[in-house]
Subunit: 548 residues, 2 copies
Amino acid sequence: MKIALAQLNYIIGDIEGNTAKIIGEIEKAKAEKADLVIFSELAICGYPPKDLLDYPSFILRCEKGLEEIQEVTEGIGVLVGGPSWTKLEKGKKLYNSAFFYSDKKLIRRIDKTLLPTYDIFDEYRYFHYNELFECVEFKGEKIAVTICEDLWNLDEEKLYVSTPMDELMKQNPTVMINLSGSPYSYNHVEKRRKRMQLNAKTYGLPLFYVNQVGGNTDILFDGGSMFINRNGDIAEECEFYKEDFKVINWDSSHTYEDNHEDYYDYDIGLIHDALVMGVKDYFGKVGFKKALLGSSGGIDSAVVHAIAADALGAENIKAIMMPSKYSSSGSVDDAVKLADNLKSPYSIIPIKKPFDAFNETLEEEFEGTEPNVTEENLQARSRGIMLMAISNKFGSMVLNTSNKSESAVGYSTLYGDMCGGLSVIGDLYKEQVYELARFINRYGEVIPYEIVSKEPSAELRHDQKDSDSLPPYPLLDKILFYYIEEKKGWQEIVAMKIEGLDEALVRKIIRKVDRNEYKRFQASPTLRISHKAFGFGRRMPIVARYNH
Amino acid sequence: MKIALAQLNYIIGDIEGNTAKIIGEIEKAKAEKADLVIFSELAICGYPPKDLLDYPSFILRCEKGLEEIQEVTEGIGVLVGGPSWTKLEKGKKLYNSAFFYSDKKLIRRIDKTLLPTYDIFDEYRYFHYNELFECVEFKGEKIAVTICEDLWNLDEEKLYVSTPMDELMKQNPTVMINLSGSPYSYNHVEKRRKRMQLNAKTYGLPLFYVNQVGGNTDILFDGGSMFINRNGDIAEECEFYKEDFKVINWDSSHTYEDNHEDYYDYDIGLIHDALVMGVKDYFGKVGFKKALLGSSGGIDSAVVHAIAADALGAENIKAIMMPSKYSSSGSVDDAVKLADNLKSPYSIIPIKKPFDAFNETLEEEFEGTEPNVTEENLQARSRGIMLMAISNKFGSMVLNTSNKSESAVGYSTLYGDMCGGLSVIGDLYKEQVYELARFINRYGEVIPYEIVSKEPSAELRHDQKDSDSLPPYPLLDKILFYYIEEKKGWQEIVAMKIEGLDEALVRKIIRKVDRNEYKRFQASPTLRISHKAFGFGRRMPIVARYNH
């Protein structure tokens, strides 16, 4: 039996485009004489469609797309994901389904049982759970079809009461197929492979696993679709961060050789590629070609510049240097050197005039007060306005250059350096930004070495250093990681007895994180690379007293 | 049996404060010789605690608070809401529970069965569902205790498969108690009363229903706790928008007279009071006393000013008039008259200098281009920066003055008029803003009549009127309501054959709504008064092609 894995990059809501794309791959599979071609979860509408699912007119359009697909299944089997009405008297109205078509007929609709509702996932918001388990007979095989999370309840700590494959095994299937929508995070690649290998071994069945690929706003899908032997070896693996199409000549009596690349729990190269794809797809899918960013001569904007250049072409990135009287002489030089290294256009536009104009205009209002953080913010906001004006005038999108350490403790100015349409490195702690810079420079200087080696400074007052108000980044990042990713309270972090971390410091930092929820609420979407990014997957109250 | 309803305003995460408050009411109930005092859902931590529930240290603190409460239940029954560990091998780790204490003992823990996961609700994100139904025997009564949504599955279209009261009825209870966390929306007050009355009638049992009160960021809880006769009459009703404590001398053989105020499906007075409470609690709970806002002489800022004055005291609201060369002469005069009517301080700060400074600074960059929306946005953003600077300098919070019609179609400037810590009228369509202005003026002029009667204009270029780029608001608001609140697609709206709405217009407006998702993503929290507000309860993809 020849089985094709179709790993595609869908646009959410673009039913017509997605349908055309799926039909194109079906034709390709037919040309290669495949018996069956498999697409990913909710392929018809792209994943995650979010509250578009609340619109009956949207479901109707999905149904039309699926009908078109059904019409081209003469002589081939097609498994494709889409929403369907439950038509039950009770419960939510929709299923998250897989449609199995062949010879222009719907052979079977399989509905998802386990509905992830945590972190960035909201599936029980939309879908009713399946309770009916039946394998699909096709060309002499008995296929156990499941959808994404359905294969994830193999933990010692089970998040769900039922395990769909345990039910399906009662019918003695000969092979497993899983339609997936599994997003990237830096510790998820290995986890996903191991989990799928565990399924193959546990049930003693080969597994065909199809994931989608591409960036959908903040969420990055990395692909990596697989064919796994019944012994758990990964015999075929699709590309990461790219569309891919693989036809597997599968003989059920044969065991295929293990044939996948080595992987690591944490790989800065994969993070890099995920961010490049995220920028590329954000721009491509909304129809933007050009970006601009404030280039300060610091490490954050340098890394964002380099990634954006990879994603969109250096000539499409405009760097704007906006020095003030507090900028060190090196700042502009370093930023210019970076633009020259990358071959990006740039402009140097000092902020003196608007900054002075604001101060003059507010002189009377501020009479009798002393300069404080207000004037620092005025600089950051003058820069933000300038970027937005250039964006408006030339139709380019402002890239935000904040990192996760800054966003966490609120070391950033709302409507100032927090502005932009997309945050590129907002899910990377400062130490990870340095790591990424070294990765970008792995073949030689792209980011000037001066930028990588200088001490971090916001340059909003004379001789300012980040370390004036923050602990050293290696310490800060540790506290933040345990608090945000690992959900440890201050007592637990203090109890770890990490060198340099005392109770006062830990509590001070955690309080900063909590108190800056209001700022992050108004932040731009942030490319997600960790298992707990700020944004949609971390939902904290703003008005609250945590007393951490 | 004397039963006390304790309707309180909790601060989310402030376990120590909430515990003290609950203990205070228990003492009050004891003093009034009550047999039982009832608190609302998740009272110990405030509702909704969101991802704080993901922190084991947070659950531990809740448990400590509950232990303290248990210690003061000598001689009285106490029903209070809080999270609890399921200790099950499978499924989510927490229950949303009600703890029934008496004489320092836990008599029973009741867990929530139906977990709302739609709109602003995310309960299946955190909680496992109950499957065990048992009434509680207390002082000769058999009490069916349920938690909020548990009483809401009486629709013809049932959102859940099981209905907890149907199960509990098998044990012949004599009375129902519901611990609730039911937020306000303008069509929810009547709905909630009717649903609770329907429960009493359906099961032929009296119902004691306790809700919380207060604003928690965007979500407004209106209170209105009730005691309902077995015939469905509302015999007692607690205050709206205020803490309340009512002791009911209940004789199970007696039917009490209907004794609640008339209500209406839509009541602008309730909307007004909800917004006042929302502003008051947002400020009070984060510890801010003073607000400021850009006062343009238009209807939106006028209504926000009046509401904020009610919430925080007019003397604590500073109005900033920021005229440009495009401002009509009346604009500042009208805004000044408003401030004088309310007795609020104000400053007039023209934006000419910063606006000119930006234009000069960008002259070279913009060489060869024509003025366009860039310069309009520069004005709005110069104003935004000024407000933020004053906010920073004096520790007051900027109130956002956008309305829902504007946010919907993106008729607003990101980081300009979209700035602020809280959007007060962002869930009111323009027509509702006018209605609210008339309500505010019901006893005479508060908002100058000139402001109410003038034609809406953003005044960002000469002779600009909103109607230059938008259809008349009554038409616009209709399209928006059907699209946003009622989730109708363009075909369905066109099929309604509403006068003045043709296909081209409907599709154009819907496209505007979809395309401006990216702006709203960075908007401030918005006080929610409708059943579909922008923000947490409406989760739309940003990068998408809806093709509506």
